[in-house]
């Protein structure tokens, strides 16, 4: 199990967008956190290291957006997304993955995700993707074809 919210969160406005980070590599979670914490209106509510833990943390932490990796142990991200959307339809899911593949993106959207971006382009796409997904709008971008499904 990985840590839940960090001290800063409680000081943020109650209307802050609450984000759950899910990736099996702590270094990647740290990188995501570094990118996201630049925005004061967003709050990283917690972290999870696999799909099963993500489902548990969604129930416990009530995030607005789940930033979700696909390839993870115990339960992969696609399966976790299905479970999350079934139990908490209002929670938006943004996939962050190394799979730069239209087929995988279609499968992710079919599982209920609102967004899909690839890890190689996160510096370009992540903030815009979270912004859009938190507003319940679709954002998808493959490495060589941004705005694929917009």
């Amino acid at each position: 199990m990985v840590s839940e919210g960090y001290g800063q969160g409680s000081k943020k406005a109650s209307m802050a967008v609450r984000i759950l980070l899910v990736d099996d590599h702590p270094v990647v979670r740290q990188g995501l956190r570094t990118l996201l914490e630049g925005r004061t209106e967003w709050e990283v509510a917690g972290e999870a290291s696999d799909g099963l833990e993500a489902v548990e943390k969604v129930n416990a932490l009530h995030p607005d957006v789940v930033v979700l990796d696909i390839t993870m142990p115990r339960m992969n991200g696609i399966e976790a997304c299905r479970v999350i959307k079934e139990k908490k339809p209002g929670v938006e899911v943004l996939f962050v993955t190394q799979h730069d593949s239209p087929q995988m993106m279609r499968e992710a959207l079919a599982a209920g995700a609102r967004g899909y971006v690839v890890k190689s382009n996160l510096a370009r796409d992540l903030l815009e993707a979270v912004e859009e997904v938190s507003q319940h709008r679709v954002f998808t971008a493959l490495a060589h074809n941004p705005n694929t499904a917009n």
């Binding site: 590599h25 702590p26 990188g31 799979h99 890890k119």
Partner: protein, 238 residues
């Protein structure tokens, strides 16, 4: 005087995570970030870092060959290899290349600071599995793990390994020539020599060889729990 660290990983998100992890330490400085092995070599020449942290699965020049070339360039370079796998072969190649540290990416948040500290103290840092293999090699001299043991790529020159990686990544001879600042004819000659030396007959064979020998790494689609699309494996990382 600060310890200067050069980071090389093709994923900016990983570099950001590593920077956040390492710059918490007083007296350590990230002097540069490279997104592939060739850039890492150029930056190392210019910046003369105390420690170079290289991901194995990088485009253009993988981390193992980057390590080899760094040590050839200046044996005083201290290289820590970051890897997603600690298979025997990868361990042997990393040691053979001259790496002084070996850290699994999944454990980087826990181990990387310790690895840099070890290097700073003129020691080496390996995962428990690497230590076991080194010990086993010491006990069983027939399978010693040392820098004198030939890796599984004994017959290709450094340049040929570079060409092999670029061809396996799908680049044409002309593109390889541009990247390596060679003539297309020279690249074609390298290509013929590679195919002959390895007894390969097609680019498909070359890609398989490159994967088997850690020249490129592949990312398989996720294991179900859920159906996966019919995509082919993609080269790379994380």
């Amino acid at each position: 005087m600060k310890l200067r660290i050069l980071l090389a990983d093709d994923h900016e998100i990983v570099r950001k995570g590593l920077v956040a992890l390492l710059q918490k330490r007083e007296g350590w400085e990230i002097c540069g970030e490279a997104s592939d092995g060739r850039e890492a070599l150029e930056m190392a020449k210019q910046l003369k870092p105390d420690v170079v942290i290289v991901d194995i699965g990088m485009p253009f020049l993988n981390g193992l060959d980057t390590t080899r070339q760094l040590i050839e360039l200046d044996p005083s370079f201290k290289v820590i290899v970051l890897t997603i796998t600690d298979s025997d072969q990868v361990i042997r190649e990393a040691l053979d290349a001259g790496a002084r540290g070996f850290v699994l990416k999944s454990d980087a948040a826990r181990d990387l600071v310790s690895a840099v500290e070890a290097i700073q103290s003129k020691r080496m840092f390996f995962t428990p599995r690497v230590n076991d293999l080194v010990l086993q090699g010491f006990l069983d001299k027939g399978h010693a793990v040392s820098r004198n043991v030939a890796p599984n790529l004994p017959i290709l020159t450094a340049r040929e390994r570079e060409v092999t990686q670029l061809l396996a990544e799908g680049k044409s001879s002309k593109e390889v020539a541009t990247l390596l600042n060679l003539s297309t004819k020279t690249v074609e000659t390298h290509r013929s020599n590679i195919m002959r030396k390895l007894s390969l007959h097609s680019i498909r064979d070359l890609v398989v060889y490159a994967i088997k020998n850690n020249i490129i790494q592949i990312q398989m689609p996720p294991q179900p729990s859920t159906p996966t699309p019919n995509g082919t494996p993609q080269t790379t990382v994380v």
